[in-house]
């Protein structure tokens, strides 16, 4: 059957008509594309106006149009508008095609003749294509009201609490033995200098005891299948070797355990823990875990001191890892960040010069619950520094390491300066490239630190060395820097150097992204759907990213994002079902030979091989519509709706004006 095509050319005021002869384009289409089925071609001042839409609706009804081409702006702007208009007139919305003659023609070219000629080609392509369009229906799927939150730092806790408080169930999964994240390691938080533990602990307890939250610590997600509304998640609950039913969290096992281990995680390598431990006193949950690698019993086969002394018999050396399977409708990723490894900047001497500290080390050093009970001392454990240098941008804003600004380091450096000043009275230098203290009450804090007498040197530190050139420098750390405001190189001897290390994506961010089907930016942070207008959603529906997993940010922003993602999740849950774009791939099993070439191509696990029938199948719910498998199938057995081979070939022919030539006999 021949299609009845209507072509509508928009002036967009003078936006298009100023450069493209729209009347000519419409006349040309009516005349030259008649063979293609164009029965009417009109031009109009603003097609997207309600009058413009009515024009199309009227033609559909009165002229019986079966296809519509609107030559106007980018489909990203008004595709929906015209599809809705078609739908209102009783035409399947997917039988409408937009030809972009504004963004791709009138706005980017100046010569009217050339622009008009190109506009004709673009319209010709769209007409050829639209004939091959097929009616499609949106796909509706129900939403499971449960939510998975991965990562129990402040962003994840906030997100979990918001959803749980709204009355829906949340699984909160955390890799470490306790929730709390990096914030639990900090002493004070800028700019208000609240005690970190004081504001965090109540939230942790709330999350730990909330009836709507299932807390799964010492656990990791190992597999994710399904799609928005219907994710099937596998979680590995690692063996704690503690029976959680019996453990009261009394702490006797830790006391009795004879094995001391350097705590690289919570204490940033500055302190010790036992082989059976809770990372810190306020840990949630309060059950300890046994560190199998270091436990004397697991290594040598004897000891069991913990078991002997446990009053409730909660120690269980035979516990095994457990696999849990849960179904959720939405997933929030709050997997946080890793601290930049300052050893990589070898000119700063971290790891070689004892009194060079990282920011996280300093957090523990200044923390009253830390290894020195909050005394700021050198690595010898006793000497109080008289001069302290704080170096900003360590590993950040540096093409040798990480390109981006880590956001928090300036404020962190100021906070450290204040703490050093307050606790030791030492002279403090801050070395910075640019002071970045945007946001509420931040610059005021900078002012306060200036007032306290901290010295600021504008210059990226060149090196920290112990090679003294004179008596004054002997036995100290010398910070060599160009004071760019004075235009002179300076060598400043200090006792302690604190590196304000940057934040970087988790070492396994790429794998985690793959697991959940989302992508990472070049820097390795999870990519949001839109950097400004959709910062917590991702390109994969039903998966949200919050906190530092999405990019470096401070506590207030992390909390805001956690709450924002929850709002999005609740929105989805309350809609009860979700509509998916019908751009999908499918396999014609009669043509599929089971060569399995497409099997390795789908990052969304939509492609499965049916061993019994020796054919491949595509799960339409998982399919995201990229079309890679369609293009890959060597047998031509896979086709894709919305962007079919026929549509695209027709569009190529149309763009090349092949549709104008008479059909060959």
């Amino acid at each position: 059957m021949t299609e009845r095509v209507g072509v509508y050319v928009c002036h967009c005021g003078s936006n298009i008509a100023g450069t493209v002869d729209v009347v000519d384009v419409a006349n040309w289409a009516a005349e030259k594309l008649g063979r293609q089925g164009v029965i009417i071609a009109r031009e109009y001042k603003f097609m997207c106006s309600s009058l413009g839409q009515e024009l199309i609706e009227k033609d559909i009804k009165e002229l019986g149009l079966t296809r519509v081409v609107v030559a106007a702006c980018s489909p990203h702007l008004h595709e929906k508008t015209f599809r809705t208009a078609a739908k209102n007139a009783g035409l399947n919305p997917y039988l409408v095609e937009l030809a972009s003659i504004r963004e791709q023609v009138s706005w980017v070219h100046s010569d009217k003749a050339v622009a008009t000629a190109k506009a004709k080609a673009v319209v010709s392509g769209a007409v050829s294509r639209v004939i091959e369009n097929r009616p499609l229906e949106e796909i509706k799927v129900p939403i499971n009201p449960n939510t998975l939150v991965v990562g129990g730092g402040i962003a994840g806790i906030q997100s979990a609490l918001e959803i749980a408080n709204a009355g829906f169930h949340v699984y909160l999964v955390e890799r470490e033995p306790s929730i709390g994240g990096h914030m639990a390691q900090f002493d004070k938080t800028f700019p208000t200098l609240d005690c970190s533990a004081c504001i965090l602990t109540p939230r942790m307890v709330e999350a730990g005891t909330h009836p709507n939250i299932t807390l799964l610590t010492w656990s990791e997600v190992t597999n994710v299948a399904g799609y928005v509304g219907n994710f099937h998640v596998t979680i590995k609950k690692k063996a704690r070797f503690i029976n959680e039913e019996l453990c009261t969290g009394c702490g006797i096992c830790q006391e009795k355990c004879p094995k001391k281990v350097i705590d690289d995680v919570y204490e940033a390598g500055l302190g010790y823990r036992k082989a059976v431990y809770t990372p810190f006193a306020q840990a949630v949950p309060n059950f300890p875990v046994m560190d199998k690698e270091n436990c004397t019993y697991f290594i040598k086969g004897t000891c069991k001191a913990c078991e002997k002394f446990c009053p409730t018999g909660a120690i269980d050396f035979n516990q095994q890892d457990e696999m849990l399977h849960i179904d959720v409708g939405n997933i929030v990723l709050a997997t946080g960040y890793d601290l930049f490894d300052a050893r990589r900047v070898s000119n700063y001497g971290y790891g070689r010069l004892p009194n060079v500290f990282t920011s996280l080390e300093f957090e523990r050093l200044s923390n009253a619950a830390g290894p020195t009970a909050g005394n700021i001392v050198l690595r010898d454990g006793k000497t109080v520094p008289k001069n302290v240098g704080i170096i900003h941008c360590v590993g950040s804003r540096d093409k040798n390491f990480n390109n981006y600004c880590s956001v928090i380091c300036c404020m962190q450096g100021l906070k450290f300066a204040h703490l050093v000043h307050e606790r030791t009275g030492a002279t403090v230098y801050n070395f910075y490239i640019d002071m970045r203290t945007a946001y509420k009450a931040y610059d005021e804090f900078y002012q306060r630190v200036l007032e306290e007498g901290t010295l600021f040197v504008r210059g990226k530190v060149a090196e920290v060395t112990d090679a003294a050139r004179n008596e004054r420098e002997k036995g100290r750390l010398i910070i060599q820097v160009e004071d760019t405001l004075a235009g002179k190189q300076r060598r400043i001897p200090v006792d302690m150097v604190i590196l304000s290390s940057g934040l970087q994506p988790r070492a396994d961010a790429k794998e985690v992204g793959k697991l959940f089907g989302i992508s990472c930016s070049m820097d390795g942070w999870f990519t949001e759907k839109h950097p400004k207008l959709d910062p917590v959603a991702t390109m994969t529906e039903g998966i949200y990213i919050v906190g530092c997993a999405q990019g470096p940010k401070d506590i207030p922003s992390s909390v805001a994002q956690g709450a924002a993602a929850s709002a999005r999740v609740l929105d989805k849950i309350l809609q009860k079902e979700v509509a998916l774009e019908p751009i999908k791939a499918s396999v014609d099993s009669a043509l599929c030979s089971g060569c399995r070439i497409c099997n390795g191509l789908c990052p969304f696990n939509a492609i499965t091989f049916i061993e019994d029938d020796k054919v491949t199948e595509i799960n339409p719910a998982l399919c995201q519509g990229c079309g890679t498998c369609v293009a890959a199938c060597p047998a031509g057995a896979i086709s894709g709706t919305g962007f079919s081979n026929e549509q695209i070939i027709a569009q190529i022919d149309g763009l090349m004006m092949k549709n104008l030539e008479p059909v060959e006999a």
Binding site: L591, S593, C595, R596, N599, C633, P634, A635, G636
Partner: protein
């Protein structure tokens, strides 16, 4: 009166004719059910006899070979005119086949290579001419065309029967079908169909085990030792054309331990065979950097020949850019 049958041999090797004979006693059915009016390899007949026939008087013509010269073209048009059912028989007629690879070079180069290279002793540089004066008058030698064309590019074709040559059991099946149609026991498939072959690809009939493929290195089969007899050849890094090649041969080559070279042409509905192989090979490459991918691709020494061995003349581009040029 028995319906009339014809078979013609244009630009091809003659293997298709042998394949027909390879149907063994089935050939007797042909004789029993048809009146063979024109089959130069099997019986004597003159072109003017065919020219004298009534249009549409031949029921079935199996035309093998591509169109390489004006004689081929003339007979193709002639047989089209005289036949009810014209079948492009075999890879050459369907898609150009090996003779079609000549389209990688300008025809002048081909003549030059044939008549004046190191292996040809032609000190006086004598080239053939298209017409000669002989006592009987002017003699015409067929003139080479610029490029090899499959039958479809010259005349309207009813059915396509792929294969180099078509498998004998498939030929037998087609003969049976036509006989049934003649007897009114069966219907002809829609015009333009591929007959005597499957719709899917060689993998469908290949018994080798297949898994998800991640290839770090392509190798020619002689460089793989030992070749796993039970595992997909592509999975072993051997560029096997099976995934893109139409089924119907019972995966003869892979079953015999060699990679499929693609003689049955593209699967149903495929526009360009080479494109399907490009995408098949590139999809199994396990590398992300251009350097590494290029390194892996180096393992396919002649990519154009690899993906268009049988299909060049029938592909979208049909011939090398140089071959399009008229002048030499």
């Amino acid at each position: 009166m028995k319906p009339k049958f014809a078979m013609y041999w244009a630009a091809s090797c003659g293997g298709c004719e042998i394949a027909v004979l390879n149907t063994h006693e089935k050939i007797l059915d042909v004789d029993a059910n048809f009146d063979v009016v024109f089959w130069p390899v099997a019986m004597d007949a003159k072109y003017h006899d065919v020219e004298a026939m009534e249009d549409g008087s031949i029921l079935l013509t199996l035309f093998n070979g591509g169109i390489r010269n004006d004689e081929n073209e003339h007979i193709a048009k002639l047989l089209r005119q005289k036949s009810k059912i014209l079948v492009a028989f075999g890879s050459c007629a369907c898609e150009g086949c090996i003779p079609g690879l000549a389209n990688l070079s300008p025809v002048g180069d081909i003549v030059h290579t044939a008549f004046n290279t190191l292996t040809t002793d032609n000190p006086n540089e004598i080239y053939p001419r298209t017409s000669y004066d002989v006592p009987e008058g002017e003699l015409h030698i067929p003139t080479l065309s610029r490029m090899v064309r499959p039958l479809e590019q010259v005349v309207d074709v009813d059915y396509f029967m792929p294969g180099c040559p078509p498998e004998s059991h498939q030929i037998a099946a087609v003969i049976d079908l036509v006989i049934k149609v003649v007897k009114g026991e069966a219907e002809l498939p829609p015009k333009g169909s591929v007959i005597g072959a499957g719709d899917s690809t060689v993998c469908d009939e290949c018994p080798r085990a297949r898994n998800v493929k991640f290839i770090k290195e392509f190798k020619r089969i002689q460089d793989v030792a030992p070749v796993d007899p039970a595992l997909c050849l592509l999975e072993q890094g051997i560029p096997c054309n099976g995934p893109a090649t139409r089924s119907g041969c019972n995966a003869r080559c892979p079953q015999a331990g060699a990679q499929c070279i693609g003689c049955y042409g593209p699967a149903e509905g495929v526009m360009d065979y080479g494109a399907r192989l490009i995408t098949a090979f590139s999809s199994v490459i396990d590398a992300n950097t251009p350097e590494e991918i290029d390194h892996i691709l180096d393992g396919i020494p002649d990519p154009t020949g690899q993906v268009y061995r049988f299909n060049l003349a029938g592909s979208l581009l049909k011939a090398n850019k140089e071959a399009w040029k008229v002048e030499r």
